[in-house]
């Protein structure tokens, strides 16, 4: 077979897969809307304000509720907001569990 | 018919090491004839061939292909004239390494947009004509000297050129293969093609198929062979 045919075929297969990904996303979204709706209902019922992504500190667990002077206030999940933060080691007892 | 009028080619013009490789050559080369440019190394044979073959432009003078002036054509047209009119056989064969003999033969026709199947058919027919069809899928670097040259000849013929230009075609061939090459030149002639060869190999310029031998020296024509 011609190499260009192989090339176009591989591009076509990949493109079809990409379209498949889009289709999957659209389809899955319809299905998962229900689950998301349930989660939203839970949020409403428990009056939650934040995502449970980072549980290590107050200002990372509830970035929207943190004090004004907490680190990371303007960009709560930034790598380090205060320059000193990058100089301080991990508090003892937290790491290396 | 190819006509050269007062052709001069100066390399590195205007610089201290400027060099006049072709110095005032006027010639009329007959169509459908085999012409050999003969002369010592450095006499300007290769340079003259490249001028005739539209590979380079002369510093001065004009070249006429039939009744068409080609010296003043823009590059694009020049390339087009070149690939439709000329087939080149180089001293080093200059096959592209890493791809098959067949692909090498097809290479000059790729940009012309010919349909692949018909191009492949023509290329294989040419390889068959020169007895190297069994080697069609061998990589260029695996071909023997004779096979490589035949492949290079097939490549020169793929666009069915009217004029075939060969620069020192026998330099890397033994006597037997050189004789075979001249037989092939005889076939070109029988097919009404114009052949121009630069060579200082007596096997070439002494061959009976040659119609005319032009002797060059220091960029000038020493003997026009007529």
């Amino acid at each position: 077979m011609r190499k260009s045919t192989l090339f176009f075929m591989s591009l076509a297969v990949q493109s079809v897969l990409l379209i498949g990904a889009f289709t999957h996303a659209a389809y899955q979204h319809g299905r998962d809307a229900f689950i998301l709706g349930e989660t939203a209902a839970l949020v409403k019922r428990l009056e939650l304000t934040d995502l449970c992504l980072f549980t290590e500190a107050r200002y990372t667990r509830h970035p929207t509720q943190a004090d004004l002077h907490s680190p990371f206030q303007d960009h709560p999940l930034s790598f380090e907001h205060f320059p000193s933060g990058s100089l301080l080691a991990l508090p003892k007892g937290i790491g290396g569990r | 018919m190819i006509e050269l009028r007062d052709i001069r080619k100066v390399f590195n013009e205007g610089k201290p090491h400027a060099l006049t490789a072709v110095d005032g050559v006027s010639l009329v080369l007959d169509a459908r004839a085999v012409t050999v440019l003969q002369g010592p190394s450095g006499s300007g044979k290769t340079t003259l061939l490249s001028l005739v073959g539209c590979m380079a432009r002369p510093t001065e003078g004009r070249i006429l292909l039939g009744d068409r002036e080609i010296t003043s054509l823009p590059e694009r047209f020049l390339t087009d004239v070149r690939r439709r009119t000329f087939g080149f056989i180089f001293q080093q064969f200059n096959l592209v390494k890493g791809i098959s003999a067949l692909e090498n033969v097809m290479l000059p026709a790729y940009p012309l947009g010919e349909h692949h199947a018909s191009l492949k058919k023509r290329a294989r027919a040419l390889l068959d004509l020169f007895g190297i069809l069994p080697r069609e899928s061998s990589k260029a670097e695996w071909l023997s000297g004779g096979e490589a040259q035949r492949t290079a000849i097939c490549r020169a013929l793929i666009n069915d050129p009217q004029i075939i230009i060969a620069d020192e075609p026998t330099a890397h061939l033994d006597t037997k293969l050189s004789r075979e090459f001249m037989d092939i030149v005889g076939r070109f002639k029988a097919e009404q093609k114009t052949v121009i060869i630069a060579s200082h190999d007596p096997l070439v310029y002494g061959s009976p198929v040659v119609d005319r031998v032009i002797t060059m020296r220091d960029g000038k024509i020493e003997a026009a062979g007529r």
């Binding site: 011609r2 190499k3 260009s4 192989l6 090339f7 591009l11 990949q14 493109s15 897969l17 990409l18 990904a21 889009f22 999957h24 996303a25 899955q28 809307a33 689950i35 998301l36 349930e38 939203a40 839970l42 949020v43 009056e47 939650l48 304000t49 995502l51 449970c52 992504l53 549980t55 970035p63 929207t64 509720q65 004090d67 709560p76 999940l77 790598f79 007892g93 937290i94 | 061939l49 490249s50 590979m55 390339t79 087009d80 070149r82 080149f88 180089f90 080093q92 592209v96 390494k97 890493g98 791809i99 692909e103 097809m106 290479l107 026709a109 790729y110 940009p111 947009g113 010919e114 191009l119």
Partner: protein
């Protein structure tokens, strides 16, 4: 002059043949390239999906949260504030929220304790999030023992585990009754963590918040729109940083491609000379170079994007686990709802394929304009 499409295909044939010649090198290039696209696309898909999910789920968040501030810190809010806020026009409901953090020395994790408006179980019972169930290896009917503020043990029975589909918001939750909460932290009855309001007319939220602050200057109202915006910027910023970092990798890669294309080896130069000598035009050589760049980058691009999609939406996002875990012991395990849009894919395309292809063609220009007669001398 021939067929345009055939010309492209013929030249692609040759381009691929010549790519195959340096199989190892080009394959390595392709892999590195695909990896780069994969990383970029993973970050983009992940943060976009997370952001979208956050903005959907957090639609249920309270419209206004009122915090009391004291000496620059978040303070408990007295119950009498409830009555004062209730009197503001436009407020349809107020409720004191009780919630706090508990560091569990046993697992080394932080939990969020929370009292709901209506708790469906009794005293001594709790509902926990999946994350806690996982780290403490407990399920309904099991007992969790914690230490109260005064050192006395609190024995709590797990009654329910919140659905794993909601882990993104509930992984570390312990939902318990108000009595248990107050006893746990020794919090006097007249105090709450903060106050949440509902507003009659959604358009009046900002006005109401302004009135709250005027009436109670030591409070800070936090609006739902601010919550949503915070999450928007968090992910924008986070993914922005990662994209910037990765972009320098992309840049390095493109410089490498440029260097590779401009530093053509003698062999490649000779090859271009041969092509020119046998009748290829400069534009044909450039077309070949274009396809060389396009073949590598299109393949790597599509492969990288597809792998990233699978990685982000089908597997437990291995790559981001360390980032998500951070220092925490308890971290959510969640499956994102797939979300990609053509805009993201186009951005990735312009970030990777276009510069790479340009970087392979432009430097080839000089090699492509090589004189065709160069091969006749050597």
């Amino acid at each position: 002059m021939g067929n345009w499409f055939e010309r492209q295909r013929n030249i692609i044939d040759f381009t691929l043949s010549s790519l195959v010649r340096r199989k190892g090198k080009n394959l390595a290039l392709l892999l590195v390239y695909a990896l780069l696209v994969f990383l970029l696309a993973s970050v983009m898909f992940f943060t976009h999906a997370l952001r979208r999910e956050a903005s959907f789920v957090l639609q249920g968040a309270p419209e206004i949260v009122v915090q009391r501030m004291s000496a620059g810190r978040h303070e408990l809010i007295p119950a009498r504030y409830l009555g004062m806020i209730k009197g503001i026009r436009g407020v349809s409901g107020v409720r004191g929220r009780l919630w706090g953090y508990y560091f569990d020395p046993f697992s080394g994790a932080n939990y969020t304790l929370m009292v709901p408006e209506a708790f469906s179980h009794g005293s001594g019972d709790v509902i926990i999030g999946q994350g806690i169930a996982r780290t403490r290896l407990v399920g309904p009917g099991d007992v969790l023992s914690f230490q109260r503020y005064d050192g006395t043990p609190a024995i709590l029975t797990v009654r329910e585990v919140l659905p794993s589909a909601s882990e993104l918001v509930s992984s570390d939750l312990i939902v318990l009754s108000e009595n248990d909460f107050r006893r746990f932290f020794g919090m006097a009855p007249g105090l709450y963590t903060d106050i949440v309001l509902t507003v009659r007319n959604a358009k009046e939220v900002a006005t109401v918040a302004g009135k709250v602050q005027k009436l109670l200057p030591d409070t800070r109202p936090i609006l739902k729109s601010e919550i949503l915006r915070t999450y928007d910027t968090i992910f924008d910023w986070r993914s922005g940083i990662i994209v910037v970092i990765l972009s320098s990798a992309v840049l390095a890669f493109i410089i490498f491609a440029w260097d590779k294309a401009s530093g053509l080896s003698a062999e490649e130069r000779k090859e271009i000379g041969i092509l020119k000598a046998i009748g290829w035009e400069t534009s044909d050589v450039l077309l070949m170079k274009f396809w060389e760049g396009a073949a590598v980058s299109l393949t790597a691009f599509l492969a990288g994007v597809l792998l990233a999609y699978v990685h982000v939406f089908f597997t437990p996002v291995m790559l981001f686990e360390p980032v998500l875990k951070g220092w925490s012991t308890l971290y959510p395990s969640f499956k994102l709802v797939p979300f990609i849009n053509p805009y993201q894919v186009a951005t990735l395309f312009f970030l990777t394929v276009v510069p790479y292809t340009v970087a392979t063609i432009v430097p080839s220009w000089r090699a492509a304009t090589i004189d065709p007669d160069s091969v006749m001398r050597s």
